[in-house]
């Protein structure tokens, strides 16, 4: 990589937290370069140092805990690390700006959007008041905010999540930067909104020619939007190449594993590749390769000699990798492929016919109370007539964007939230109307796993007691000794040592915690587990472990899963049936293959098209305008018609009746059937 078109060159950047031998070297010798007008991605799992590298570019490493110990950051002929704080302020927001992951907390809630953008304009461009306002409206128009002249005086809480991220982008653009650092800009957003934001960034890049440094953990996003990729692991870049090159022939074992761990349809029935172990703690000195402990292809030398950066030229492009296997002059032993990873249950499992749980016309309405006497002035129609059937040993995926009511539906089925109307039939009994003590006995049969493995365990209890809790409540295991043995057995089933029982949750990583939660649910021998986004807080490699475990348990115990998720690739990998939810109702429901191959409802189609995929062949994204309407007063007629690309006049008039298609699926759309 050479030439004048290089905008940013980072050399041997090191960031360290703490002092002495225990210091955490979060970034440990990172080199990369970004050309003008290109999109460069730093890809890595959480804790690999990618965000810290970006913060270090702007000298924003949290002080005094952390400091930049060495390195050069050449930006447009200036070494940024040599600048004083005063000079840096001219760079931040003006030459280089940054957008963050969480749009909710990145905006000041007590200032209007216009004031916040205006502040940047005043600071860096010195525009007078009137010009500032005009320019702000222009910027808001650029980022696609409808009615910007009105929105300029709104406060952040009046905007939705996607809108806020757009405002953040407008703020970042206000200083007319040459480089935009986007730190996980879409992680907190839904897929349809994510597609909108990514497209917006691409459009802005085309218009202004600025470069983007994208920090992400999502391979799908990288596959779609990026020119160059650098893969980070444990504080170092382990592989860097153009996107095409990297996706065509990933070299580093870590990168290859990462690709293999992403669930998708073709991997159905097989176990996902997982990376064993955890990211090593960065507070120690490494002698060998940092990945050696988790690498299937490592040999003795990997643990003794640190691999050097090796570059290869293919088709005039450089492909760099940090692995002994590719280092010249080193004879690497042949890789013995492990046969074990391919075995799995296969798709051969017969679909058992017996229905485990039937949900009929489930409704959850939350009253909105106002005024002195708390009169009910309206309802939030969170779940508004949901019908589901879950069979023994099968997985039903409930898919939808955040706010569509899928989690509420899951909790209402277990009566963790009281349903307003409808039936939940399990074993001939209606759970929704069962007296409290009878329900309590039935609870062992129906369990739940939550999204956030950090919040779902009492931090004040030891893991053994956490797993045991359900057994005690349900009277499983008569003596303490019996329960203790069962806990040890359960922990083993989910791949944890029995000693884990005597430790506290905070001593475990996210993936391990999620496994403890699964062990806890299994303890009461349930028939059905509601999995509420169990993998969305986890990294790809850990997600693969969890999905493997869930699938394995299903095969062994014939569990039924209600899998609530927004991640389509997980659905494609795991589910047997899919129900797509939009604004409290199910719009399309049926076998997974039918729906993924040939979605009939326009919303399903848009949702599937918005998912970034690893396949290179271009696909057309059906762009949805706007965002999910409020469930307080849903649009009349079909809820989806204001955003539907195929809306007809009848759509605004009445809600479509369910149509059952020959392949067994149910669609609620006027386009289908009539």
């Amino acid at each position: 990589m050479s030439g004048d078109d290089i905008l940013l060159r980072v050399r041997d950047l090191r960031v360290q937290f703490g002092q002495g031998p225990q210091a955490v070297r979060a970034v440990d010798g990172v080199d990369f370069a970004i050309r003008r007008g290109e999109t460069f991605a730093l890809l890595g799992e959480s804790g690999c140092g990618k965000s810290m590298s970006a913060l270090a570019l702007l000298q924003l490493v949290p002080r005094p805990a952390g400091r930049i110990t060495s390195g050069e950051v050449w930006f447009d002929g200036q070494d940024l690390l040599a600048l004083s704080e005063q000079q840096m302020r001219q760079v931040r927001g003006h030459r280089i700006s940054m957008i963050f992951q969480e749009p909710m907390t990145s905006l000041n809630p007590v200032m209007t959007v216009g004031e916040q953008i205006g502040e940047v304009l005043e600071q860096h461009l010195g525009l007078p008041r009137r010009a500032r306002r005009d320019r702000t409206i222009e910027l808001l128009t650029d980022v696609g905010i409808p009615a910007p002249a009105r929105r300029i005086d709104d406060y952040p809480h009046q905007l939705s999540g996607g809108m806020k991220q757009r405002v953040m982008i407008a703020m970042a653009l206000a200083g007319e930067p040459d480089l935009l650092i986007a730190d996980e800009p879409t992680t907190a957003l839904d897929v349809t909104i994510q597609a909108q934001v990514l497209e917006l960034l691409a459009k802005i890049q085309r218009d202004t020619g600025m470069a983007i440094l994208l920090i992400t953990h999502d391979l799908g996003i990288v596959a779609e939007t990026v020119d160059h990729v650098a893969v980070m692991y444990a504080g170092q870049i382990v592989e860097a190449a153009s996107r095409r090159e990297l996706f065509a022939s990933p070299l580093h074992p870590y990168t290859r594993k990462l690709f293999a761990a992403v669930p998708d349809r073709r991997k159905r029935g097989r176990k996902l590749e997982t990376i064993s172990g955890n990211v090593p703690p960065l507070n120690r000195r490494f002698t060998g390769c940092r990945f050696a402990e988790r690498c299937d292809e490592a040999w003795l030398r990997c643990r003794e000699q640190a691999p050097a950066w090796t570059e290869r030229e293919t088709d005039g492009e450089t492909h760099g990798v940090r692995c002994l296997r590719y280092q010249p002059g080193i004879e690497a032993p042949r890789v013995v492929s492990r046969p074990g990873s391919e075995t799995g249950s296969g798709e051969t499992k017969p679909a058992s016919a017996s229905t485990l749980l039937t949900v009929r016309d489930l409704k959850v309405h939350f009253p909105i109370r106002k005024g002195l006497f708390k009169r009910v002035v309206g309802h939030v129609y969170a779940v508004d007539g949901v019908d589901l059937q879950i069979a023994d040993g099968r997985t039903l995926a409930l898919v939808g964007e955040s706010g569509c009511g899928k989690t509420t539906a899951g909790k209402a089925i277990l009566r963790l939230i009281a349903p307003t109307a409808g039936e939940v039939i399990y074993d001939g009994q209606d759970l929704a109307r069962l007296p409290a003590d009878e329900l309590r006995r039935l609870r062992a049969r129906l369990q739940i796993i939550f999204q956030d493995p950090f919040a779902s365990m009492n931090p004040r209890m030891m893991v053994g007691n956490i797993v045991e809790e359900g057994m005690r409540a349900q009277g499983i295991g008569r003596t303490a000794e019996e329960r203790r043995q069962r806990v040890a057995q359960l922990l083993e089933q989910v791949g944890l040592p029995p000693e884990a029982a005597r430790r506290y949750p905070h001593e475990f990583s996210g993936g391990q915690r999620q496994r403890i939660c699964i062990a806890r649910a299994l303890a009461v021998e349930p028939r059905l587990i509601v999995c509420d986004e169990p993998t969305s807080a986890l990294d790809v490699s850990v997600q693969a472990q969890t999905l493997n475990l869930l699938k394995d348990l299903q095969d062994r115990f014939g569990l039924g899963y209600l899998f609530i998720t927004h991640n389509i690739s997980v659905v494609a990998y795991l589910a047997h049936d899919v129900a797509v939810m939009y604004l409290g109702r199910i719009v399309e429901q049926g076998p997974v293959d039918a729906i993924l191959d040939d979605p009939r409802h326009p919303y399903t189609r848009a949702l599937l098209s918005a998912v970034p995929s690893l396949d290179e062949n271009g696909r057309e994204i059906i762009r949805l305008e706007g965002e999910l309407p409020s469930p307080i007063n849903p649009p009349p007629g079909c809820h989806f018609h204001p955003r539907c690309p195929d809306a007809m006049p009848v759509c605004a008039e009445r809600y479509p009746d369910p149509v059952t298609l020959p392949d067994g699926r149910v669609v609620k759309c006027h386009l289908v059937g009539d």
Binding site: A444, A455, N458
Partner: protein, 500 residues
Amino acid sequence: MAKRSRPFWLWPAVTVLILALAWWQLPAQFGVRPVYLWTDRLIFLLLAGALFLGGWIRRREHLRQPWVEVFRQRRAMVALVVLLAFVITGLLDSVHYRKPLPMVDGQQGVQYSVEVVTLLDELLGTLREGTEKTYSAPFAMTQLARETVTLPDGTQSRIRPRLRHGGAHLTDPSQRGRDILASGLAGAAIGVGLTMLVWLLLGAILSRRWQTSWRAALTRIVHGRTEVPWRAILVTAGSLLVLMAMTALWSRHWHVFGTDKVGEDVLYLAIKSIRTGLVIGTLTTLVMLPFAILLGIMAGYFRGWVDDIIQYLYTTLSSIPGVLLIAAAVLSIQVYIANHPDLFETATDRADLRLLALCVILGITSWTNLCRLLRGETFKLREMDYIQAATAFGVGHFTILGRHVLPNVLHIVLIIVVLDFSGLVLAEAVLSYVGVGVDPSTISWGNMINGARLELAREPVVWWSLAAAFVFMFALVLSANLFADAVRDAFDPRLREQSP
């Protein structure tokens, strides 16, 4: 954590058992008649509770860790040493008994004095007994006011008479300065000696724990190369010891803080007030905690009508001016006590009941704050996934409250209890000043300050009562506040999360 040979309550139980036995049996050995006041019982109950809690916390890593952090802070430990000095004084002052009267001829059985004394009184012997006629200034040899006395030759003269006790051992008044200096220096020497002794003892104990030689342990303490700031602790304890030894030597012949209107030694009064302050500060919390915790977490957890009732209760209570409520309650108790003199054996019994009543009333008026905080926290907690998970297992409501909610709000309880302590000590002073506090016969800083109201208007000004009360209260409240700060820093999750 691996070995669980002993239950956590073993050592606390043994300690409590020994204490209880001593309390029950020892008085008879010394031929005195024990008086078990209500506040005494509660204080020792509290002490036993604290011991058990300590044993329990030691076994819980997540609870132990913040305390370890507290024990590593220099400021907190300095404050703790001062606090401990106060607490020990208060505990000594909580062992009440009546001494037997000398046998009179023909008497059936032993008669006991109506005067109730404490262990502390025995230690302070000369302070308590060396009373004067009226006011005298600190380190004075003569009364403050002139008095008409009849001289041996029959003439009358207005002079300041010599004190019965203060400086009575000196015949020559010009020796006063030298005597004060000499006994001060002697006291300081004794104090320094005691400190050295403590240092050597500490070195011996710590050398066993660190498995080093005694000498190495001693130098390590001096150089401050220890996790727990032993050097700071030693310096504080040393200064306290020097101060105490000097005061002790002085008060053999002098009134260090002068005397009050009826000639009682002001230092004695100030020391005796410590117990009152501690009782108010601790027992009030004891009274308020069950209300605040139970109602607070119930309101937050059950919501609906339970929340409505509890909220109604505490908003009503907290909108009545506290002083008004306290005044009304105290006055009605006063009337009750006055109408039932037969219920109380001694005046101390009576004053004690009023003190307890004040604690209860203060507790009832001050639980609302904690209750409100706990309600809010529980609101947040009940939406946590682990509580939902427990519900999904069919765990009962009160089990959830006990196992999941309570342990997760305990840090708030702890912070509030420690913070409230100093506020309550000050509240006692204010209430007694207003006249609705403790019984006038109870020795308390509030009563001392109340008395000082008139003394400050005298000519010459009698400032020492106020000053003594101020110095003691200030030391107690300041150390309590410093300690509370450290506790809050260690337990507040928001402050803790900042360190990676």
